[in-house]
């Protein structure tokens, strides 16, 4: 095994370059090193101007999403040896405006997230003394969708989001479903308008790349499909039943 590997890193410094350019760095190739370790090596010892986000380096904070050799990944959980002998092409996440180097602007998602009301909605007032009971089986019904770390890999993988930035997108819908399917929640009705709008689930054509990209097994594609079925059932009911009976 060669002892170094080349990183080709996309650099974009607003005001300096009109569009991203690639810069190559040789970094040590070690068994334990993730792509992120390679970038940290560059930042610490070679070129302090390289900018990217990271924090937990254990695949849970969702900061370090990047496009590595064309695929959206968490750079702290993707290892250099998997790309040996290289080179490794490191680019910012696709489908987001690039702020600088490997840093992208996710304010669009942050603005959409509250619109699906991702919090537990209950009517009871005041809060009860004890816990809301929930069996392990009921927990399983939504557990998968509660695993989202907001890493944005799914948005980066989704061509529909690329083409139509108004699309609510995989993670936001999965999070809405996380609450819709929670036995304690009573807010499905409140989330309906946003989810079943044209920019909601109906924009998704089930490309499925979101679920392939998701590092946490959330399966947003599945969440969306399931909601389509729910929304369609509702629509049929609305259509068939007289107003009063709804």
């Amino acid at each position: 095994m060669a002892d170094t590997i080349t990183l080709q890193v996309a650099r974009y410094r607003p005001g300096q370059e009109p569009e991203p350019v690639f810069q190559s760095y040789d970094v040590p190739l070690r068994k334990e090193w993730a792509v992120l370790d390679g970038l940290n090596h560059v930042k610490d010892h070679v070129d302090g101007t390289l900018s990217y986000r990271w924090s937990c380096r254990m695949g849970i904070c969702g900061s370090c999403g990047m496009t590595v050799n064309g695929s959206p990944v968490l750079s702290c959980a993707t290892f250099l040896t998997d790309y040996a002998p290289g080179p490794v092409r490191v680019e910012p996440l696709r489908n987001f405006p690039v702020v600088r180097d490997l840093v992208v602007d996710i304010t669009d998602f942050m603005a959409k997230l509250p619109s699906v009301k991702p919090w537990l909605i209950r009517d009871d007032e005041p809060e009860p003394e004890g816990e809301y009971l929930q069996t392990p089986g009921e927990l399983d019904d939504y557990k998968k969708f509660s695993m989202c770390i907001n890493c944005m890999l799914c948005y980066s993988a989704c061509p529909v989001y690329a083409l139509d930035p108004a699309f609510l997108g995989p993670a936001a819908i999965a999070l809405a479903q996380r609450y819709n399917l929670d036995s304690r929640d009573e807010g499905a009705e409140d989330r309906r308008d946003v989810l079943s709008s044209a920019e909601g689930v109906w924009a998704c054509t089930f490309v499925g790349e979101c679920s392939t990209a998701c590092p946490k097994g959330v399966d947003p594609a599945g969440a969306i499909q399931r909601y389509k079925l729910t929304a369609a059932t509702h629509a049929v009911k609305d259509f068939l039943l007289p107003r009063g009976a709804r």
């Binding site: 410094r13 005001g15 300096q16 334990e32 930042k43 610490d44 010892h45 070129d47 302090g48 101007t49 900018s51 990217y52 986000r53 990271w54 924090s55 937990c56 380096r57 254990m58 695949g59 849970i60 904070c61 969702g62 900061s63 959980a77 702020v99 600088r100 180097d101 840093v103 602007d105 996710i106 942050m110 509250p114 009301k117 991702p118 919090w119 537990l120 209950r122 809060e127 009860p128 004890g130 816990e131 809301y132 009971l133 929930q134 069996t135 392990p136 009921e138 927990l139 939504y142 557990k143 509660s146 695993m147 989202c148 770390i149 907001n150 999070l175 609450y179 929670d182 304690r184 929640d185």
Partner: protein, 580 residues
């Protein structure tokens, strides 16, 4: 330019978010801002795995949780604070349940609890082994339902504005633009978490650089008990990724190179096939990490390129238990060590994990500076004493986050004082200083990473699991040198847009302050207690040191250490007994 909010919460981790919600609930008319250097859901609380303690079972009692906490902290715990803590923890955890936290359940639908190190009863609430992740996202998503909580995401706070002993806001940099802004407030709550990055090998995320401690320290608030740095016994070599204590609570064993459960040699009880509370692998973290050092001295650890290790054995638990209770452990092992804990031994070694010390606060999260509050890992309310028990920290964030929020809301409701001209002048100064910081270091020649690495080595060698007067004195000298070198640190990056190098520089300057305060406190404490083990003073000395260290910053960056008595209400200091 400046903006105004009634309360500014610095930090969007467990403590900060809880505080913000508390304010929004206490007085909806107040405007609250959360200023955080990362998006809240990236905060380090997200990494917590094992669980959060709060008395839940019928067989358990507040007294027992209190006693475990006090003895776990080697009697350096303020008992009134700990009492408030154990009393309010269960209701805080329950509120989180009402906000949607997916706690693991018993078959009948009630909350499940698990065992944890140093705890006599099962009282640790958990959400599989992603407890912190679920708590943080639940809290974050709940704040989204409060539209009056304003967020400044990816804003880095560089200083507090203080006039005449009262806080009036913060100065912060917006990362995306490099814009420096003054945020005026009637009260500031610092919730910036810990400072594990002061050490080379830590479970802590890159953002845990002790910023808030340094901010308060520089503003004149004292830090407390900084010598107590917790090592967690089971970190993965190289990455320092934590293997949660829950792995031992579910029945995992620690084995030395001979496959022997070595903890039995260190007064931690006798091995039993099933985990026994407060015994063996379920002893407290300080004692387990110290046992590792002794094993190493006896040549019974295994050498690897990333230091000596022992093994954590989960194989006898079987795939089913591991997948149900510890799925993340399995995921982390396979990703970062290429091993499967169902079939293989996990290499582990002690790793810097948690800061018991922090900004000195009272039981309401108030610091000695008017209008300044602190909560979470950054604060030292003194419920953790000389050693924090696993799973006490997450509920601490909730209980004292909420308390600080309520206290701040009340304070803001009653105060009339508005910032005077001095504050605005100070803000302008701070701004100018920062602008200089952007350009000053372009001339330097020292790499930030080099200084940082050296500082970390100095801390490990001088103030590690075991320390003595000499090692600490050397560390103090070396840190002073590093501070001088810091003045010549270089910054290549001239851009204003997302300049992470300038942030790294500011973080390093914060860390140097924190490191110095740790060494100063450790040097003064001539005894061994909990996580502070002095080989030259091997015994606990209640006569001289049943006191909190309180360190004030001196203008040269050094620390002036004084003492504050420990509040003892019902449990006089006793022997710490585990496994007997």
């Amino acid at each position: 330019m400046s903006v105004f909010h009634n309360v500014v919460v610095v930090g969007g981790g467990g403590a900060g978010l809880r505080a913000a919600i508390a304010i929004a609930e206490a007085n909806p008319r107040l405007t609250v801002a959360i200023v955080s250097k990362v998006y809240p859901m990236r905060s380090h609380t997200v990494s917590a795995e094992g669980g959060a303690a709060g008395v839940a079972g019928a067989d358990d009692s507040l007294e027992e949780h209190l006693y475990d906490t006090i003895s776990g902290g080697d009697w350096l715990v303020d008992q009134d604070a700990a009492e408030a803590f154990v009393r309010e923890a269960p209701s805080e955890l329950l509120r989180l349940e009402h906000w949607g936290c997916p706690w693991s359940r018993q078959p009948d639908g009630r909350i499940a609890v698990r065992a944890f190190g140093g705890m006599k009863k099962k009282r640790t609430w958990f959400a599989a082994d992603k407890t912190g992740f679920h708590m943080l996202h639940t809290l974050f998503q709940t704040t989204l339902s409060h539209p009056d909580v304003v967020r400044y995401d990816e804003w880095f706070v560089t200083s507090l504005l203080v006039d005449d002993g009262q806080v009036y806001g913060v100065v912060a940099i917006e990362l995306a633009t490099g814009r420096v802004e003054t945020i005026i407030a009637n009260a500031v709550i610092v919730c910036t978490g810990g400072c594990g990055r002061v050490f080379p090998f830590t479970t802590n995320a890159n953002i845990k650089t002790g910023d808030g401690m340094a901010l308060a320290y520089r503003a004149g608030a004292p830090l407390k008990d900084m010598e107590f740095v917790q090592y967690h016994p089971t970190g993965l070599p190289f990455t320092g990724i934590l293997i949660t204590e829950a792995a031992r609570a579910e029945g995992g064993w620690l084995l030395n190179k001979d496959g022997y459960r070595y903890l039995q040699d260190y007064d931690l009880g006798t091995p039993t096939p099933h985990p026994a509370m407060r015994s063996m692998e379920l002893g407290p973290r300080d004692r387990l990490s110290q046992a590792f050092v002794h094993e190493h001295d006896k040549g019974r650890t295994i050498d690897t390129p990333y230091g000596p290790i022992v093994h954590l054995d989960l194989r006898h638990l079987g795939a089913e238990v591991i997948d149900a209770k510890l799925p993340f452990v399995r995921e982390l092992c396979s990703k970062y060590e290429h091993i499967d804990p169902v079939k293989e031994l996990i290499p582990v070694r002690p790793v810097v994990h948690y800061m018991m010390g922090g900004i000195h606060t009272d039981i309401h999260g108030a610091t000695p500076l008017t209008g300044l509050y602190a909560a979470g890992e950054v604060a030292c309310v003194s419920i953790n004493g000389a050693n924090r028990l696993g799973s006490n920290s997450l509920p601490e964030c909730l209980v004292f986050g909420a308390r600080a929020g309520q206290a701040a809301a009340e304070f803001v409701g009653s105060t009339r004082s508005a910032p005077g001209a001095a504050v605005y002048a100070q803000a302008r100064d701070a701004q100018r200083l920062l602008e200089r910081e952007f350009t000053r270091h372009t001339e330097g020649h020292e790499r930030i990473a080099d200084i940082r690495t050296e500082m970390q080595t100095v801390m490990e060698n001088g103030a590690g699991i075991y320390r003595d007067g000499e090692s600490l004195a050397t560390a103090a000298d070396r840190l002073r040198e590093l501070r001088e070198r810091f003045d010549h640190a270089t910054v290549d990056d001239r851009s204003r847009t997302f300049n992470t190098e300038v942030i790294a520089l500011l973080e390093l300057s914060f860390m140097l302050d924190v490191a110095q305060s740790i060494v100063a406190c450790a040097l003064h404490r001539g005894e061994s207690r909990g996580a502070h083990q002095r080989t030259d003073f091997p015994a606990r000395d209640d006569l001289r040191f049943l006191e909190h260290s309180l360190v004030h910053r001196t203008p040269d960056g050094g620390g002036r250490v004084g003492y504050l008595p420990v509040k003892i209400t019902q449990w006089p200091p006793g022997e710490r007994v585990y496994g007997r």
